[in-house]
């Protein structure tokens, strides 16, 4: 690749990603160092601005620094790199060593736009994130922010707004996938005031950070979506329920609400119309179940966060018994686009039953951990291998868990599944809020099911019997199988309990809690049977059922496993095949994880 010189512009913008992942890797120090070096100085010959932005998605390679208009992206930047970056701006020669390197082809790319990670994505909900300073309403306005609200208030009737959202085919991004327009319409039709609008920002799935990124990186889009809805359904007050752990999200949203007030987007007679609407932030109490809408409503009311039977929807009787529209953060982020560009444009993206895009947090055993937004209908293979760069360390793909803790595990032969609400449900999993956890061959599927059930056992609200007691018994059964005391009849029990949970639980948490168990039994039954009948964990995870050995024909005698074994269970001469002492071995798996020749095996 030839090195293109840096463009010589009139002014330059340097954007430092300060999303949670990048911050954890020291992006604030990078930002401050850059600002100090460049602000108010003419060192590089042009006026230079620095800006901190929300999450760009490529968290694996953070902290990210983008330079405009040169279109340069630097990865894994540290504060010590700053003087060199400043020099490169002076000399006009970009710093190739900080370029993105493709994990498969090893090719370097000057701009993130050229990389596979970004090329296959389509940003609608995340359109502004990474491009704007979340603390600046002007940045949001510069990117057509609040244009959709103006359009709705001045050119559309409330009914037209509802109809537009319905026509767009947008379905709730929180997991249920209910048509958003239908929800709004049915709420507007209930003859009772006041009506309320709620934003569900209680993202609690392990490994999920879609909503967090939106609230942190583009808070105004959430507000704009909610205000448009308030106009459409005639609501007077709104609440954003933010997960307690999301401190930055709360801070940025609070600032955004203040700025929106100053600009007349919130408060009395918004933009001169008859709409008066205000938004308050409620901090969650740290319970996973409060992501369930009726539990969330109970929590806002000051009650214990427990769901209720939803035979009467919140659209009819929601917050304080009044008609309420409650949507997830990502759903709100789509609204300004639908109103601004029209339902037809939005509906042109996606599949027949699921329109638009979906944001996924791609984590686990995948090269490019991060946040991605793809059109509905993109295959799992494209997401995991093209965008995600596949499984690291030469290991092989085993399964992907979608939809959070109560989603299901999808095996390799379904990788070409086109992801949308209905296809995932048909495969025994679900869209959920959009977590994608990739698992490699070092994953035991029985242990995985047990892991998620353990999470749900603690996070079930404990109100209804099937969920509280059912999960407890299923967990005990799975643990027994992992310890080698399982019986084939346990699978019958697990399946029967799963059915009871699906059919009789009070809320969606319990109704979907058996997905990890059912999907692993469905796709990895052999692995269960091997645990039960052969007392063997093929992945080498369940300690009671694992014995590691070294294949003498493959072992090169490099000694890596021997040097790192914490209990000195590996022995062998240099360049000679090594051995594992099964008595000393504590089955930590360090040797099998380290071996570069796949010589360590499970007996």
């Amino acid at each position: 690749m030839s090195q293109q010189p840096v463009i010589n512009p009139d002014s330059r913008m340097i954007m430092v990603c300060c999303g949670t992942g990048c911050q954890a890797n020291g992006s604030m120090a990078v930002f401050q160092a850059l600002r100090q070096a460049l602000e108010n100085s003419n060192e590089t010959g042009v006026q230079t601005f620095t800006k901190s932005t929300g999450c760009n998605g490529l968290c694996e390679k953070g902290p990210l620094v983008k330079i405009l208009p040169d279109d340069i992206t630097y990865c894994q930047v540290q504060a010590v790199d700053v003087p060199e970056i400043v020099d490169s701006l002076k000399t006009g020669l970009p710093l190739e060593r900080l370029f993105y390197r493709d994990p498969v082809t090893r090719e370097k790319y000057r701009s993130h736009h050229q990389t596979n990670f970004y090329k296959k994505q389509k940003k609608i909900a995340l359109r502004n994130i990474g491009e704007i300073d979340p603390g600046s309403i002007q940045d949001y306005l510069d990117r057509s922010g609040y244009y959709a609200l103006r359009l709705a208030l001045q050119r559309m009737t409330p009914e037209q707004v509802c109809e537009e959202v319905l026509q767009s085919g947008l379905r709730g991004r929180g997991g249920g996938g209910f048509p958003t327009g239908l929800k709004w319409k049915s709420c507007a039709a209930v003859d009772s005031i006041p009506r309320y609008v709620i934003c569900n920002g209680d993202e609690g799935d392990p490994g999920a950070f879609m909503d967090r990124s939106v609230m942190e990186g583009d808070p105004h889009t959430v507000l704009e979506g909610m205000i448009i809805c308030a106009y459409a359904i005639g609501a007077s007050a709104g609440y954003i329920y933010v997960r307690d752990e999301y401190d930055l999200a709360g801070t940025n949203l609070t600032a955004a609400i203040e700025d929106a007030h100053k600009h007349g987007f919130l408060g009395e007679k918004i933009l001169g119309s008859d709409l008066s609407f205000d938004i308050r932030i409620v901090r969650g109490g740290g319970a996973f179940v409060c992501g369930e809408e009726t539990a969330l409503i109970a929590s806002i009311e000051g009650n214990v966060g427990e769901p209720r039977d939803k035979y009467i929807f919140p659209t009819e009787k929601g917050l304080w018994g009044q008609p309420t529209v409650i949507n997830n953060v990502e759903t709100w982020a789509n609204i300004p686009v639908i109103i601004g560009y029209g339902a037809e444009a939005f509906a042109s993206v996606g599949t027949k039953g699921s329109k638009g895009t979906k944001v996924f947090s791609l984590v686990g055993k995948v090269v490019n951990t991060g946040l991605v937004e793809v059109p509905m209908g993109t295959t799992l293979r494209e997401i995991i291998f093209d965008i995600g760069g596949g499984v690291p360390k030469g290991r092989s793909f085993k399964a992907v868990q979608t939809g959070g803790p109560s989603g299901g595990c999808i095996p390799e032969n379904l990788l070409d599944l086109e992801v949308d609400f209905d296809s995932l449900t048909a495969a025994g999993s679900m869209m959920g809020s959009g977590g994608l956890i990739v698992m490699d061959d070092r994953t035991c599927m029985v242990e995985v099911a047990s892991y998620y059930l353990n999470f749900l056992a603690g996070e079930s609200c404990g109100k209804c019997v099937p969920c509280r007691e059912g999960i407890s018994l299923m967990l005990a059964t799975l643990k027994r199988i992992c310890e080698g005391d399982g019986q084939e009849s346990d699978l019958v029990l697990l399946e029967s309990l799963s059915k009871t949970l699906q059919q009789a639980s009070l809320c969606a948490l319990g109704r979907t809690a058996s997905n990890p168990v059912l999907s692993t039994i469905k796709y990895f039954r052999e692995e269960y049977l091997e645990h039960i009948n052969k007392h063997r964990c093929p992945a080498g995870v369940c300690k009671d059922l694992t014995e590691f050995y070294i294949d003498a024909e493959v072992c090169t005698g490099c000694g890596l496993c021997r040097k790192n074994c914490p209990v000195e269970a590996v022995s062998g001469e240099k360049k000679q095949p090594h051995m594992i002492d099964a008595v000393k071995c504590i089955k930590c798996g360090d040797c099998i994880n380290r071996c570069r020749f796949q010589a360590v095996k499970v007996r």
């Binding site: 319970a287 179940v289 214990v304 209720r308 039977d309 035979y311 009467i312 749900l456 056992a457 603690g458 996070e459 079930s460 609200c461 404990g462 109100k463 209804c464 019997v465 099937p466 509280r468 007691e469 059912g470 999960i471 407890s472 018994l473 005990a476 029990l493 029967s496 309990l497 059915k499 009871t500 059919q503 009789a504 639980s505 009070l506």
Partner: protein
Amino acid sequence: MKIIINGTEIEAASGETILEVARRAGIKIPTLCYSEAFGGQGVCRLCMVEVKEGNRKRLVASCTYPVSSEVEVTTETPAIQEIRRNIVMLLYRRAPNSAYMQQLYLEYGCPGDVLPVDSEERCILCRLCVRACEKVEACAISTVSRGTDKHLGTPYDEASPDCIGCAACAEICPTKAIDVQQTADKRVIWHKEFDLVTCTVCGKRFSTPIFIERVQSKLGQLYDQELICPECKRKRTRKNMIAQQLGQVEGE
């Protein structure tokens, strides 16, 4: 409107729950967390029934499902029976020390190899005690924590200033899980000790002074100033009724 339960047409008012309609018509649906005094809670899920609305069939909790259209209800199907058997089995596993659960466990023909979690436990977390406590306007107990750690108690498991020692919670508990220790003149419940008032008729200690006070303030003029235990009160009422009847007969 009319709804159909197990093939029989029954008159139902909009908003009434399926369970209420069924009970009125003498159709049995089993429950564990339901009391007419408090309405449905949707907690035990034993009352699941199948509802057919148009072409759509689904299972709902009959104690919380409000009738809003002319639906068709089936109270027993193989799927429902399996659910009920599992629920009873799960609750027996939780509360094996309750005679009531032991009996249900046999009645529902649950599998015999269930390993109980805690052999001393009797509580099934039906929350009827919490509802009773709310009803007497004490609100001293509630469920605490979540998930498998959920249990019943007073705040911080200490003596609650709100508890009036009425023992309505223990009275309504279907599994006799609430510990009430009563000696000749004292009652200990929920970590709190209460003196007891004496029945002016039979001399038995029967209630706590603070509870009597609560009833007096609620009933005002209606309250019979005499301290009399429920048993003696019943006897006296009976006697009075008979005397009244006899008087009427004599007067004719």
